[in-house]
């Protein structure tokens, strides 16, 4: 049972809530990107914040912007930023056509992948992602890439990967290896691959 005075105090507190957003430097070599204050009703852009170190205190449509050095903002939130999980790491395995074993040159990559899973420890997950080249119809390639992912998962599980931390994904022909974007219908063995994302 909340007494009226208590309720009023509660409303006052929520009415006075102050929200802020602070844009930080991108991770590694990535640029800072941007955060946009949106009109809560229309979703239109009200204010774009695109410089690392810039903060804005937020109230509906209004945003009061304050600039700081990017490093100052970084230090201010250092404990919070230290809690961001490590970036996912990708490993590319090549399966020779029609084969259920990985190619000899992929063995060291597979071993590095298992080492990364072990290094990350409790809470680690492994996404097994199938890809195709652009031979054949796009919908068929979606199916084929999913089958490729499931086959790779079964192989890795047989080699000791815990099935409970895995998920399989098919990306079809839409994500070629950099430098290997081809016209439709073109064969490219490099794109017939499985990417393992360790998160």
């Amino acid at each position: 049972m909340i007494r009226p005075a208590g309720l009023a105090a509660l409303l006052l507190v929520s009415g006075c809530a102050t929200s802020t957003v602070t844009l930080l430097k991108g991770e590694g070599a990535n640029s800072a990107g941007a955060v946009v204050v949106l009109d809560p009703k229309t979703g239109e852009d009200v204010k774009i914040i695109d410089t690392a170190g810039t903060s804005a205190s937020l109230a509906g449509r209004s945003a009061t912007v304050r600039s700081r050095a990017a490093d100052t903002a970084e230090r201010r939130f250092s404990d919070l930023l230290a809690g961001i999980p490590d970036p996912p790491r990708r490993f590319i395995l090549v399966f020779p056509e029609g084969s259920t074993t990985i190619s000899p040159e992929s063995i060291s990559v597979r071993d590095a992948m298992f080492a990364e899973v072990k290094r990350r420890g409790p809470g680690v997950t492994v996404q097994i992602e199938g890809h195709t080249d652009r031979v054949g119809d796009a919908a068929d390639n979606d199916r084929l890439s999913r089958q490729r992912a499931v086959a790779a998962r079964d192989l890795l599980v047989a080699q000791g990967l815990d099935v409970g931390i895995t998920r399989t994904v098919g990306r079809g022909e839409r994500a070629p290896v950099p430098g290997h974007a081809t016209a439709d219908g073109v064969e490219d063995p490099v794109n017939r691959r499985v990417e393992i994302v360790v998160r």
């Binding site: 929200s19 930080l24 640029s31 809470g123 979606d142």
Partner: protein, 143 residues
């Protein structure tokens, strides 16, 4: 009585992980931290799968680190209430929508595939505002 309640929570967690509505995985937990799922508390440990609608709560000494299936990552600071209002992600096309509500506390975000693929795909709400995420690393606080 207390132990009966705890075992119910554990059963709830087991049932929840058996359905594949997984959108994210807890990577690290320190201090007092909990998930509220359908108004029921769920214990949170590294490896706990999160679902749309989950409310992440931390005490004064609590922190939670989370990685989503689109590669976006959260660090939830002490004294926080963070609601995963919406998370739809097509892992074949990378199209999706993500909406997070910071009710209280502090949240650091590194955006992922949803924001990368669609500049209107990821939003963060606070009690006073709505933010559109165009990438990539930022902090939201609500006091």
């Amino acid at each position: 009585m207390v132990s009966a309640r705890i075992s119910l929570v554990i059963i709830g967690a087991l049932v929840a992980t058996s359905v594949s509505a997984e959108i994210a995985t807890v990577k690290r937990v320190t201090g007092t931290a909990m998930i509220e799922r359908n108004k029921t508390p769920v214990a949170v440990i590294p490896g706990t799968k999160l679902e749309t609608g989950d409310l992440l709560t931390t005490g004064k000494d609590g922190r939670i680190s989370v990685t989503f299936i689109d590669d976006s990552r959260f660090s939830v600071g002490p004294g926080s209430r963070i609601r995963l209002t919406r998370f739809d992600f097509d892992d074949t096309t990378h199209q999706g929508k993500s909406e997070t509500r910071v009710e209280k506390g502090a949240l650091a975000i590194v955006s992922g595939q949803i924001a990368h693929e669609n500049p209107k795909g990821m939003t963060v709400q606070t009690p006073t505002s709505v933010l559109g995420v165009r990438g990539t690393r930022f902090v939201v606080t609500v006091k």
